[in-house]
């Protein structure tokens, strides 16, 4: 499989009539790791959810392509099958559906009918990934995310990432709620995915995740668009100095999306 490319062009997104994304441009190629940073409420999760097809968000302008295919015309499941993955900031809890049944359904959804993953192979892969992420084995039989701690939910998102092996993954604050040890474990898991074909967009507030997963590109979002891009050094400067200098440089008073530019 050749490396994939996700292109986001001039993306505008509304929710309940209010414009939240105001023209986002970003291209992620297989093999690249991008970090997206930015203060609270600047549209990072909106970007991630809109790409995946969240039912509440309305795309009013712009395009998203995965290897030239128009993502915005696809159903949510088709986007996943085309190779997209979103680790959510707040994953849903689904009672009565075990983690392992869910994972198996997800994997089989990526395969042809009649070519379902053999049970033993599935269990072996799941056990391996759970070991990598130091997840307790009995989590497999628990209901999906129900009663999981914040950190357990995040690990569970990465477990799905590792088993589904998407072409392009978007990880929304995968580091929030993780203790230092868990952060390392999760970062190791993500780094294991790293190869020439896998592209990743990591939304985070903290340099400490980027200490483990070095990004090739760093972007800053404010007011619903990408206002600055650079290399890993940009994240270091944000860690040291905060966002004020960017706001000053660009003449921004209020960085949240409510403000007109």
């Amino acid at each position: 499989m050749a490396a994939s490319t996700l292109e986001i062009k001039n993306l505008h997104v509304q929710i309940e009539g209010e414009e939240i994304l105001k023209g986002v441009n970003l291209t992620i190629r297989g093999g690249e790791f991008h970090a997206v940073m930015g203060p609270n409420g600047t549209g990072k999760s909106t970007l991630a959810s809109a790409i995946m097809g969240h039912p509440k968000f309305e795309i009013t302008e712009g395009e998203v392509f995965l290897d030239g295919e128009n993502v915005l015309e696809m159903e949510v499941d088709e986007r996943a099958q085309a190779g997209l993955f979103l680790a959510m900031q707040y994953p849903s809890e689904i009672s009565g559906v075990t983690n392992s049944d869910f994972l198996r359904s997800s994997i089989n959804a990526h395969r042809e009918e009649g070519d379902e993953i053999p049970l033993m192979k599935f269990i072996k892969e799941m056990d391996g990934a759970m070991d990598d992420l130091e997840i307790d084995k009995n989590m497999a039989q628990r209901y999906l995310n129900e009663g999981f701690s914040g950190g357990e939910k995040k690990r569970n998102e990465i477990l799905q990432l590792m088993m589904l092996k998407p072409a392009i993954a978007i990880l929304d604050e995968i580091d929030s709620g993780l203790d230092i040890d868990a952060l390392k474990v999760v970062a190791n898991g993500i780094n294991k995915m790293r190869n020439e074909e896998f592209g990743c967009l990591i939304i985070t507030h903290y340099q400490r995740l980027l200490d483990y997963i070095t990004p090739d590109h760093v972007h800053v979002m404010m007011q619903g668009r990408v206002v600055k891009s650079g290399g890993p050094e940009l994240a270091h400067r944000l860690e040291a100095e905060g966002y004020d200098w960017i706001k000053e440089e660009l003449g921004i008073d209020d960085e949240t999306v409510g403000q007109k530019a």
Partner: protein, 435 residues
């Protein structure tokens, strides 16, 4: 449609029917009393569901059923109910109003376990049956349906487990309404003596989508002191059957009664499940799932009454409603004066899958004692679009995602059904009903 409310059966018919079955006099008397009362008593109280036009009187009362000599003679859908994991040694198949097949392990017989049809039982174990039959549990004079049940009883099971006997294998009964118009006036009497243990599972099946008939079912369960009874059921009458189901438990000191009820009828249904926690430390879980479809209307009541000190009652009912179906889920926890340190909890959840479906949850707590704990949770809602988004974002189709959510919603009860095969079968029934 003109709906008859009185039965076309008289005293002479009942007497002859009783004589034909060689019933003891005490039982014939109950029948005749039931007949008399059934004319004067009102219908059971069902709030919010209109039952005026339901068929309660059009049915065939006395329909024979052929015996079978091998399971191969059973149609596939009945055979599918047999427990794959056992030799089906503890099984009765009731076909229309007769027993088609009956078996009980010798080792259980030797220990005094009785598992037989109710007519045999009232002759061979008259005292035992008389002592429990419609006395302390369900009473003949509760309403028109219980009275009619007594008058017209035409099939039933007696299961008796003596003191300290532990029955390891599940006991199963399949009630097969083969004749499309045959009615079940069916009585299950389960007596677990002190310190005994038993697991019982029953299946009700019919195929009368067009023909009309009725099912009038009463179960009485006596879990005497320190016994453990697990009672599972899958009700799956077809559209043409109007059902009145009344399952009643009486639980003694330190005894446990676990209900796991799959309420999957396709016709109009009134189903009530009342458990009386009589002894100190008595415990009951009443778990039930339902799926409504088409135009059916249903009324479910789960009611646990606490009389014993430190008794615990937990009600859990989950229902899925689709098409134009409607259902009311009443949950009642009642703690009587004197039942201190008791705990009454209940949870009722309804998931609606279509605009036309209607579901209602009525949680009620009635507490006449200070030193107790109690709680309830109820919700009526639709499938959460964010849950679907989450599942679909992993590549799962919308249809499959909805399936997962629905099965998941019902799973807390389904997995409690005591026989694995019946569990599996219930899942298939659910699958068939929600698709």
């Amino acid at each position: 449609m003109a709906v008859e409310t009185q039965l076309p059966y008289d005293k002479q018919y009942i007497t002859e029917y009783s004589d034909k079955r060689n019933e003891p006099n005490w039982f014939k008397d109950i029948r005749l009393k039931g007949l008399e009362l059934s004319e004067e008593l009102p219908m059971p109280v069902v709030k919010k569901t209109r039952i005026r036009n339901w068929n309660f009187t059009n049915f065939k009362h006395d329909v024979a059923g052929e015996k079978i000599s091998s399971f191969d003679e059973l149609p596939e859908r009945i055979r599918a109910l047999l427990d794959e994991d056992s030799d089906n040694n503890n099984l009765i198949i009731v076909r229309n109003n007769d027993v088609a097949y009956a078996s009980l392990e010798d080792s259980l017989k030797d220990q005094g376990v009785i598992f037989t049809d109710i007519f045999t039982a009232m002759n061979e174990h008259s005292d035992l049956v008389q002592k429990h039959f419609m006395q302390e549990g369900v009473k003949v004079d509760e309403n028109k349906m219980t009275a009619r049940h007594a008058a017209l009883l035409n099939s039933g099971i007696f299961l008796y487990v003596p003191k300290k006997v532990v029955v390891e294998q599940p006991i199963q009964v399949i009630f097969w309404q083969e004749d499309q118009e045959a009615a079940f006036f069916n009585h299950v009497l389960l007596v677990a003596e002190e310190q005994s243990e038993v697991t019982y599972v029953e299946n009700y099946v019919s195929e009368n989508d067009e023909e009309e008939t009725v099912a009038n079912i009463v179960s009485e369960v006596f879990a005497h002191d320190a016994s453990k009874v697990s009672y599972g059921a899958v009700d799956h009458f077809a559209k043409g059957t109007t059902s009145y189901v009344n399952r009643r438990g009486t639980v003694g000191r330190d005894a446990t009664l676990e209900w796991a009820l799959g309420q999957m009828n396709d016709g109009n249904t009134i189903s009530e499940n009342i458990t009386n926690l009589m002894g100190e430390n008595a415990l009951s879980h009443a778990k039930a799932v339902s799926v409504g479809r088409g135009n059916q209307a249903q009324d479910f009541t789960a009611n646990i009454r606490h009389f014993g000190k430190a008794s615990e009652g937990y009600i859990l009912q989950h229902g899925v409603m689709k098409d134009q179906s409607s259902a009311i889920f009443n949950g009642i926890g009642k703690i009587e004066h004197g039942a201190s340190k008791s705990n009454a909890e209940q949870e009722s959840r309804v998931l609606m899958l279509s605009e036309g479906a209607r579901g209602d949850a009525n949680p009620i707590l009635l507490i006449d004692e200070d030193d107790v704990t109690a709680g309830h949770a109820a919700s009526v809602g639709r499938v959460d679009p964010l849950q679907l988004f989450y599942l679909m974002s992993r590549g799962i189709s919308q249809h499959e995602a909805e399936r997962l959510v629905i099965h998941g919603f019902l799973d807390p009860v389904v997995r409690e059904i005591p026989i694995k095969t019946v569990q599996k079968q219930l899942r298939e029934v659910i699958e068939g009903k929600v698709n």
